[in-house]
Amino acid sequence: MKKYQVKVNEKRCKACGICIGLCPKEVFGEDYLGKAVVKDDGKCTGCKICELHCPDYCVEVGETA
C-alpha cells in the first residue's frame, strides 16, 4: 500500500476546520488555536480532499514510498 506524508503550513492556516472535518480518516487534529495539525498520516489514503478544500493553500499531500 502506498504511504503518504501530509504537511500543514501553519503560518498560512486560519483554523477554519475544513480539512479537519472533511478528512475521512481523521488524520488531523487541532492545536490550542484551532489550527490544523497532522495527528497521524499513517492512516492517509491520499484522496487529497484536504488539499483541494483548504481555502488558504496550507495542506500538501505527498507520496513517500
Binding site: R12, G17, H53, P55, D56, E60, V61
Partner: protein, 273 residues
C-alpha cells in the same frame, strides 16, 4: 496546496485577507489547477475582476491583472480582449457584482459571445459590505437588508446567460472542487463567452445569519444539495425538490465577437462597405 501551483500566486500577497473558511480561496485553487491543466502562458493571460470579496482574486493570482469597478469587470475585459484578441481573458465576479450592478454587462457579454471566461463566485450575499441580500439570495434567507427573510423569488443566473447568448454555461461548487477545475478548463477552451457559476460559502456575512455555524457545515450543505445534470435526468421532481444542478448545463455554437470584428476590419480596409 501542491507546490506545483504556487507559481500562479503572488507569494508576497499571501496569506490572503479572506475570512477563515471563505470559499473564495478554494475557487482560486481550482482556478490555479485549471491554469496548469491548460498549460497557459501567464504573460499572455489577463485576469479581470470587479469589486467585492471575490473580486480580490486579482490581488493574489500572478497574471496580468486588472481590479476594476463594481459590476464593470466585463466592460474592461471586453476592451482588453478587443484590443488584443490573442490574450486569454478570465473574469472573476461576485453574485452581487455580476447579477445586480453588473447585470447589464453580463447580458451584453453573453449576447456578443465574446471569447472571455467568467467565473462567478456565488456566495448568495454581498459579503464585502457586511451581508446585504443579492439577487441570488434564496427566498426566505436572511440578510441585513432582509432581516425577516428574502421576499423576492429565486433567480437562476445560468438561465439568464443562456437566454442572453453565452455559448458555455456551467455550475459547480467548492465542495466539488475537482469538477470545478474541469468546468473552468472546458469554459476556457470554448471559443466564445463562457460562464461558470461557482457556488461558494461566506460563513461570516451569510452562514452565521442563516443558522449555518461554520464553513464546514456550508460545504457539506453543498454536497447534499447539488445534483449532477446527468444524475438529475433519472430523478423525479420530488427527489429534485430543494436541489440545484451542477455540471455543464449548456453549450452552443455561435459567431464569436472579436472574430466577427476582425472580419469587419478586414472588409472595410479592403474598401468594402
Amino acid at each position: 496546496m501542491n507546490s506545483a501551483y504556487e507559481k500562479y500566486f503572488r507569494q508576497d500577497r499571501l496569506p490572503h485577507i479572506w475570512c477563515p473558511g471563505c470559499g473564495n480561496g478554494i475557487v482560486l485553487s481550482a482556478f490555479a489547477r485549471a491554469m496548469e491543466e491548460l498549460n497557459i502562458d501567464q504573460d499572455k493571460t489577463v485576469v479581470v475582476s470587479g469589486i467585492g470579496c471575490s473580486s480580490r482574486a486579482t490581488t493574489y493570482v500572478d497574471f496580468n491583472t486588472l481590479h476594476t469597478t463594481h459590476g464593470r469587470a466585463l466592460a474592461f475585459a471586453t476592451g482588453v480582449k478587443l484590443a488584443n484578441p490573442e490574450l486569454n481573458v478570465f473574469v472573476f465576479m461576485g453574485d452581487g457584482d455580476s447579477s445586480a450592478i453588473g447585470g447589464n454587462h453580463l447580458i451584453h457579454a453573453s449576447r456578443r459571445n465574446i471569447d472571455i471566461t467568467a467565473i462567478i463566485i456565488d456566495n448568495n450575499i454581498y459579503g464585502m459590505t457586511g451581508g446585504q441580500y443579492s439577487p441570488l439570495t434564496p427566498t426566505g434567507k436572511k440578510a441585513t437588508t432582509a432581516p425577516y427573510g428574502m421576499v423576492e423569488r429565486n433567480f437562476d443566473l445560468c438561465e439568464l446567460v443562456k437566454g442572453a447568448g453565452a455559448t458555455f454555461v456551467a455550475r459547480g461548487t467548492v465542495y466539488h472542487a475537482k469538477q470545478l477545475t474541469d468546468l473552468i478548463v472546458a469554459g476556457a477552451k470554448n471559443k466564445g463567452f463562457s460562464v461558470i457559476e461557482a457556488v461558494s460559502q461566506c460563513p461570516i456575512s451569510y452562514g452565521r445569519r442563516n443558522k449555518m455555524k461554520n464553513a464546514l457545515e456550508m460545504i457539506n450543505w453543498q454536497k447534499e444539495h447539488a445534483v449532477n445534470v446527468k444524475a438529475a435526468q433519472k430523478m423525479n421532481p420530488e427527489q429534485l425538490k430543494d436541489k440545484f444542478l451542477i455540471g455543464e448545463l449548456y453549450r452552443a455554437e455561435a459567431p464569436e465577437y472579436t472574430a466577427e470584428y476582425d472580419k469587419l476590419i478586414e472588409r472595410v480596409q479592403k474598401g468594402g462597405k
